[in-house]
């Protein structure tokens, strides 16, 4: 009833090829963005910013990056945490050593570019190995980068503890002090990055990635160059992941050690991509929301319901319920939450009729 496109005629190619051809979709997305930019800053508490919205947004950017690599190009990568670390530490070193450039946009872009360079380097094995074997090669990148940031003292400015800290952040003169400021900056960056990612995957580059993913030998035969395609996938993916890592260090943690970007972080983002849906940008957001929010909700749910239990039991239950939910969702819809969303939209087109 509400989701029909009757009466919506396109009169030029640009209108026909737009990202959201249906008016209701456009309105919905614009409404979401308006709420995110205008309503949330007016209503949210600091806890909501720092523990829910900021981690969700930053990790969804990292999930977009990994989805480009794993979902759109089919190259399994377990090095996400390491690339986030490259982004964070490269940004930190630029921020530290060139104090005149205390502009977060520049700093994050530099972090992203360094991560892209490192991503290309560790993506070279993908030209020879596929699937799980590539996963192991990227695992090597994760461990190597872990080791590098723990041992190469220059990168952490010779601090005795190995921990680095940042402060006095600003963007073109706007000082980033409060959680609301950080939230708005991160939201802006994530929106821009999502638009860029959407256009990339809809264009020639994205189609070449998907061709390599679906049947790489056939793709090579019809003229897609595997070297260029796979390395661009690694580069773009690592760029997004590097920017996400820089934001994680600067805006989420403020002070971090290499353990913040360890193998568990890589797994966490891979799970976001798998549960959200491979090959779908919306899936990155849904997966990030699931993985970030569900543990926190499960931890606080007994408190909201007034059930008293020991913190140990609470932690154990949280683990068990989280695992059970992951298994449940993957059984119900193996293609992820994004597929559930598109199935819902399909049904909504017919509603209230059954067929």
């Amino acid at each position: 009833m509400f989701y029909r496109e009757a009466g919506q005629f396109k009169t030029d190619y640009a209108a026909d090829q737009q990202i959201f051809p249906i008016l209701q979709d456009r309105l919905f997305v614009l409404a979401v963005i308006a709420v995110a930019f205008l309503a949330v800053p007016a209503l949210a508490s600091p806890y909501l910013y720092t523990e829910i919205l900021i981690p969700f947004l930053i990790l969804s950017l990292a999930a977009i990056g990994l989805n480009i690599l794993v979902g759109y190009c089919g190259q399994v990568s377990l090095g996400t945490g390491g690339f986030m670390a490259v982004g964070a530490y490269a940004a930190y070193n630029l921020w530290l050593r060139v104090p005149e450039l205390n502009n977060l946009i520049v700093v994050f872009l530099f972090g992203g570019l360094m991560a892209a360079a490192v991503g290309i380097l560790f993506g070279i094995p993908s030209l020879r190995i596929k699937g799980f074997y590539l996963a192991v090669a990227t695992l090597a990148s994760q461990f190597f980068l872990d080791w590098m940031f723990a041992r190469v003292k220059w990168l952490t400015n010779y601090t005795p503890s190995g921990s680095v800290a940042v402060g006095h952040l600003e963007v073109f003169g706007w000082h980033i002090d409060t959680p609301a400021d950080r939230y708005l900056l991160i939201l802006g960056i994530v929106v821009v990055a999502t638009v860029v990612a959407k256009n990339l995957v809809r264009g020639h580059i994205g189609r070449s990635w998907m061709a390599i993913r679906d049947m790489d030998i056939a793709a090579e035969i019809i003229g897609f160059r595997p070297l260029r395609t796979k390395l661009t996938a690694f580069a773009v993916s690592s760029f997004f992941i590097g920017v996400a890592g820089a934001m994680w260090g600067f805006l989420r943690l403020g002070s971090w050690e290499p353990l913040a970007f360890d193998i568990n972080r890589s797994f966490q983002i891979l799970f976001m991509v798998i549960i959200g849906g491979l090959g779908s940008l919306l899936g990155s957001f849904l997966g990030a929301a699931f993985i970030v929010l569900v543990p926190i909700v499960l931890n606080q749910l007994p408190g909201w319901l007034g059930v008293r239990m020991s913190t140990a039991l609470l932690s154990h239950l949280e683990f068990m319920m989280f695992g059970a939910m992951i298994v449940f969702f993957l059984i119900v819809e193996p293609h992820g939450l994004a597929r559930l969303w598109s199935v819902a939209k399909e049904k909504l087109r017919l509603w209230p009729f059954p067929h």
Binding site: E51, L96, A150, A165, E257, D262
Partner: protein
């Protein structure tokens, strides 16, 4: 249809009941958050500590009716020793209670580093008793950090003094080999600066050997130690890393008498898994050791005889349980001190900070509280957020801990210049204002 309406009605009533319950909140209460861990790789050491803290707050409520009539509301949040979960717990709990959190004890150097950034903004003091940044002893830069009773540089210094004494003087250390097996995190890396300084001063070779979290993979490290044959090995571990190290030392045949752990590596959960293999192992003491003291009689009378204790009675003399008691006691006494200035009511974090900075526990007061024999008198000032820097060495004899040394004071001639330099560097990097301690009270 009837079942559905009944279910909806029931849910509505329950929701109404919950909202009513939430608003009925007492106002004369001091909220104290507990960032502890009862799960994860560090749980064996986290659980007795958390029990000690919970028991002491319950004791103050039961025995004294609160702090001058203000009852303590204590809420635990399991951090699992993970920095991001620790920050999430802190953010969740920092504004609870009528005046917000009084202070926070992160029980993790990693979480302390993260909260050091947030504490000045939220105005909640961080008490990192026996851990945290060593340079945070300088209160003129680190206004909100309180590494009470000792930092890692003090710990390393105390152990080195004991080793020097055993060898017959620091000059006898020349040419010896000392290895540090440390947890590869800010916690483990802290003592390296002091040990390198001492190595330069006395001419021994110092080799740090990192062990990755959680610390179960140590075979390579201890094979290296067996090859190198160092004279002493210092252990800076936590959780299961401690027991693994002692078992590995027994496996390669390294004499446990030459193995010295920091005060976070010297508790019963660390030595019991190795069974006979831990006999002879030394550890530093964060002032107190194991055993029952005056406060335990009160615990028995007011909590355990009534079945309100958090742990089992046999566990209440253990090292980490006692440490939980000490940590909670210091916080409670700081609130009490702050109440002398601000009144007997729930206090904000800023007011409690004043209380901690002016904390002065004499021997008589410690005896009153039941902590005689556990602690030496301490006095916190603006420039000295450590309060006291004494310690002893204890040894595991297979069944219990035995104190084998006298009191050592960490050497400020070595440590103070390092603290000043590190604090100055931190203040410059973060462009922080430095307080003038001579001007303040």
């Amino acid at each position: 249809m009837r079942l559905r309406t009944a279910a909806l009605l029931g849910a509505a009533i329950a929701a109404a009941g919950l909202t009513v319950a939430a608003t009925a909140q007492a106002q004369n209460e001091q909220f104290i958050p507990g960032l502890i861990y009862r799960t994860g790789a560090y749980a064996p050491n986290g659980i007795p500590f958390a029990n000690g803290v919970a028991d002491y707050y319950a004791l103050v409520n039961e025995r004294d009716g609160g702090i001058n009539g203000v009852k303590i509301v204590y809420e635990e949040c399991d951090t699992g020793y993970a920095t991001d979960r620790g920050v999430e717990c802190y953010e969740r709990l920092k504004n609870k209670g009528p005046t917000g959190a009084a202070y926070v004890n992160p029980l993790s150097t990693g979480i302390t580093f993260a909260l050091t950034e947030k504490a000045p903004v939220d105005k909640i003091p961080v008490i990192s008793m026996g851990y945290g940044r060593s340079e945070s002893r300088d209160g003129s830069v680190f206004q909100w950090n309180f590494p009470l009773l000792g930092t890692y540089w003090s710990a390393a210094d105390i152990i080195m003094q004991h080793i020097g004494l055993k060898e017959g003087g620091f000059d006898k250390l020349k040419g010896k080999k000392i290895v540090l097996v440390y947890h590869d995190s800010p916690y483990g890396k802290e003592p390296i600066a002091l040990l390198e300084q001492r190595a330069k001063m006395h001419g021994f070779t110092f080799t740090p050997m990192p062990v990755t979290h959680p610390g179960v993979e140590q075979k390579a490290t201890w094979l290296q130690i067996r090859q190198n044959r160092p004279d002493y090995v210092l252990l800076w571990g936590w959780g299961i890393m401690n027991s693994t190290s002692i078992k590995e030392a027994a496996a390669v045949g390294f004499p446990r008498e030459k193995l010295f752990g920091v005060w976070w590596s010297g508790a019963e959960p660390d030595v019991r898994p190795a069974e006979g293999g831990a006999k002879g192992y030394h550890a530093a003491m964060l002032q107190h050791g194991s055993g029952q003291f005056g406060v335990h009689a009160d615990l028995k009378k007011y909590l355990y005889d009534k079945g309100k204790g958090a742990a089992k009675w046999d566990e209440t003399g253990e090292v980490l349980y006692n440490r939980g008691l000490v940590n909670a006691m210091l916080g409670v006494e700081a609130i009490r001190k702050a109440q002398t200035k601000f009144g007997n009511k729930p206090l904000t974090g800023e007011q409690v900070r004043w209380g901690i900075e002016n904390l002065d526990l004499s021997a008589a007061r410690l005896k009153e509280l039941g902590f005689e024999g556990m602690l030496q008198p301490l006095k916190v000032t603006c420039s000295d957020h450590e309060g006291t820097r004494a310690g002893r060495i204890q040894q595991w004899d297979g069944a219990k801990w035995v104190v084998v040394s006298d009191w050592y004071q960490s050497d400020d001639k070595v440590i103070k210049p390092m603290v000043d330099a590190a604090a100055k560097k931190y203040a410059e990097e973060k462009k922080l204002p430095v307080r003038d301690c001579s001007k303040e009270g």
